[in-house]
Amino acid sequence: MKILVCVKRVPFTGGKMVLNADGTALETRHLGFTISPHEECGVEEAVRIIEAVGGESVVLTLGPPDAVEQLRDAMSLGIDRALHLQTDAGEWDGQATAGAIVGAIHADEEASGPFDLILFGNESADAGGYQVGLRVARALGRPCATGLKGVKVDGSSVRCEQDTGAGRDVYVLPLPAVITVREGLNLPRYPSVPGRMRAARKPMTTLNRPARPEPRLELVRLAVPGGAGRKTQRLGTGSAAAPAVVEMMRTIGVV
């Protein structure tokens, strides 16, 4: 089986959103970066499936030169090789991103055979466009199920469980297929030291830098919302605050 998982490099935001000077991006000088949370589960799932049935797992990202960090992270967890669609700075909208990924998939499939399963996160942590996986699936003419918290590959099909808030809906898709997953699908492992050492030697292919198409959904500027406007009242310090807490709970009617 050959599996592809697509990931996005996003900053760890911590407690406060701080924008750059022209307000078009987060100020990330003091932030670390990670694979977007849903996609961390996509990486873990791809590794588990290949561990179970054998074959090859591939990770792909579209992003700046520094995104090699996330590709190495994915390989340190067990992904076999990486494809990097390297971009300059600047925002890629969902259509442009999907278009470049489809091109990379076609090229890889021509060289080394078709992917049986392609995984995306349901939505990225930062832009939250909810669309790249579905656009890629459509362009490839493959079925797609979204927002999955359960995935089971069974021979020539994949059983997909989508959390609906009132239980789970099950879709069974014939392979090859595309799926988008959510955090909670699995508990991703931590990279081991030997895993990191192996990852440094795994193949990383930098693909011809694609030209960024004119965005059809064009970011103008970002803003930090005005907040919930809560005014904080200190109820006390240590266990001595307990009576004040219970009094507050009584006032708002929860005890």
């Binding site: 669309q131 103008v220 809560r230 009242q233 006390g236 266990s239 807490v245």
Partner: protein, 288 residues
Amino acid sequence: MSVVVLMEEGDPSRQMLTLARKFGAPLHGVPMDAFTPFAPDSVAAVLEYAAEELHATAVFAAGTDRGNEVMARLAARTDLPLAANCIAAEPGDPVQLTRQRWGGSLLEEARMHTTRALITVAPHSVRIEEGVQPLAVDVNRFQIDAKDQVVRVSEHVAPPGGGVSLAEAKVVVSGGRGVGSKEGFAILEELASLIGARVGCSRVVTSAGWRPHTDQVGQTGTKISPDLYIACGISGATQHMAGCKGAKKILAINADPEAPIMSLADYSVVGDLKEIVPAISAEIRKSR
């Protein structure tokens, strides 16, 4: 100058109509449950055909899981741009939008260059205008291709029974890194059982394997709106606040008075949660 709207049960769809009607009239509604079992590509196909036939300027849906999914399928099949989770929208060329990023922790002002605007509206970000009622689209008039019926629900698995869900709980007692261990949650469980609350947690806790992901409050977990949210040993990262900002009141208990949550909450108590939480439980017992 009509508009096609994808309708679901509940307030988010009614909120969506407030923005949709700015793009034209009349509104033509396609029900999300037009097909049984649910087949998202079939619904997207109906939206496409209806929008074509009616020369719609825009197609709108609520930014629910299903709304975003079906609209992305429509965007993919028509090769049009899609703006998800908007909180404001003005028609024109280009269309002017404000949309949520980072689960609502950041707003993006955007321009959409398109012949037909595809927009989902972030739930609970826009006021409902009373008396807006879309005309019903007769979905049976459209021929649905077999390939648009491949993806369909084949089975439903009922939720595990027992108690109220995290999303619907009136009070949630949550723990973060400060709880220290899986076992450390016992005092939160005790307080929760005394007041009929649900226990929640932050992302750090689920990543460490202390609690299941179903307990996670946050951007990538459950979004909650209880009367009271008690956050114990949680710093208040944007990832977490995106999930609990719907709470009517927030009480933060934290050893660090400088933690972000201590100025984002309505009430705060500084100190060791391992002393404070049992003291609150004891105080409740005493007062009964």
